[in-house]
């Protein structure tokens, strides 16, 4: 049972195929799908490849930040001048995914739709308050990224829908942020814990995105009441701790990842704070 690969040449045709064919699956960069096939765990009747649909790989500067097409590669998010200027946290985080070859092929849409709890980019997108644009024959709707990761490998993408854009607001002036990734097997392996952190100009709010530390990427917002960096670290770790529910695997036991999650949280808060000075 090899699912056929359909190659639509317009968005309307892609939506039509997703609506009419049985058990469809969107094919983005294919880096996750090809591995699922090799592992014998891909359950799809038809693959709908987006690589021939024009206009899906554009990065546009908008008043609030960026509108990113779903077929934009992760490597372009890392290297593009406009991404680095408008949303440096996103550029930094995308640059930490896998290795340059995977980043050259993997797509922004496929990355979040993959829905894996260990993905790095969601940590930054959660902090930045990105929005996901979903399109189907029924029309277009927008889902905040903070509502996008529903459950273990379940996202808000409904049958027949595809991601047509990611809207990423730029952080207001004076904010500072960073991304910390801790891997236990190799420098560019999946993380055992990752944290994106942002502190606002007034140092009133800390925004944290957690990767690999629960069944879904998690967002944690921490109000600060004017203390220094040590108070911010204490508030952050106290807020993060109850959110930690890591899955044990070859990269570490649940206990190990829980500890690493707190270390990554502290590191990220201190570095973001340092940046802000």
């Amino acid at each position: 049972m090899k699912p056929p690969l359909h190659q639509p040449t317009s968005l309307a045709e892609a939506c039509e195929l997703l609506d009419t064919l049985e058990e469809t699956m969107v094919y983005g960069g294919g880096t996750a799908i090809q591995i699922l096939i090799k592992q014998g765990v891909l359950f799809a009747g038809n693959l709908v490849d987006l690589s021939r649909v024009p206009g899906l790989a554009e990065i546009e500067e908008t008043a609030e930040g960026l509108r990113v097409g779903p077929m934009t590669t992760l490597r372009r998010m890392e290297t593009s001048e406009v991404v680095r200027r408008r949303v440096p946290l996103a550029a930094q985080t995308y640059g930490h995914v896998a290795n340059p070859r995977v980043r050259n092929t993997a797509s922004v849409g496929g990355n979040i739709a993959h829905g894996d709890y260990r993905l790095d980019p969601p940590t930054a997108l959660l902090v930045l308050g990105a929005r996901v644009e979903l399109t189907s024959v029924r029309g277009t709707r927008t889902v905040p990224i903070r509502d996008f990761f529903v459950d273990f490998q379940v996202t808000a993408v409904e049958p027949g829908e595809l991601i047509t854009a990611l809207h990423i607001p730029a952080a207001p002036a004076g904010n500072s942020s960073t991304f910390v990734k801790m891997s236990s097997l190799g420098e560019n392996d999946w993380p055992a814990a990752s944290v994106a952190a942002q502190v606002d100009a007034e140092r009133r709010t800390l925004r944290l995105g957690l990767g690999a530390l629960a069944h879904v990427p998690r967002y944690v917002e921490v109000p600060l009441d004017g203390g220094g960096v040590d108070a911010a670290v204490a508030a952050a770790t106290a807020a993060v701790e109850p959110e930690l529910d890591p899955i044990p695997d070859v990269r570490g036991s649940a206990d190990y990842k829980r500890k690493l999650g707190l270390v990554a949280t502290e590191d990220a808060v201190r570095r973001a704070w340092e940046e802000a000075r």
Partner: protein, 153 residues
Amino acid sequence: MKLIQLTVNGRRYDVPVDDDELLLDVLRDKIGAYSVREGCGVGACGACTVLVGGTSVSSCLARAVRYDGAELTTADGLPEDDAVVTAFVESRAMQCGYCIPGFVLMAHELLAENPQPDREQIVAHLEGNICRCGTYQEICRAVEVAAERRARA
């Protein structure tokens, strides 16, 4: 089966491929580019690296049909006096050599983007390639030598 057109190292090939055939298998079995090798098969080792219009791709995760019309470079297509290849040879950067075509192509991509990389940038670009013989020090040195040489040429 679909007929696709690939330009590999400047030569044009019209090849019939199945929907799900990997670029890796097409290059080896239908075109004879044996410098493209399978290691991990999951994007993590770089033995199967090819350049598509100058951009590195793991051919083990790439479906050939999606590369219809593409211009590919594989390591066996590089000229004998290629600055990167000669630097690898002179730096004694290979033991068994299995991984080397991948490293050479990653080095080409890096030097095209950044002709004078420092050690940290070299490591960051090559760290997704695995050498089971462990000649990493020599490989990094070879990339530095190639960069110096290209600057002088």
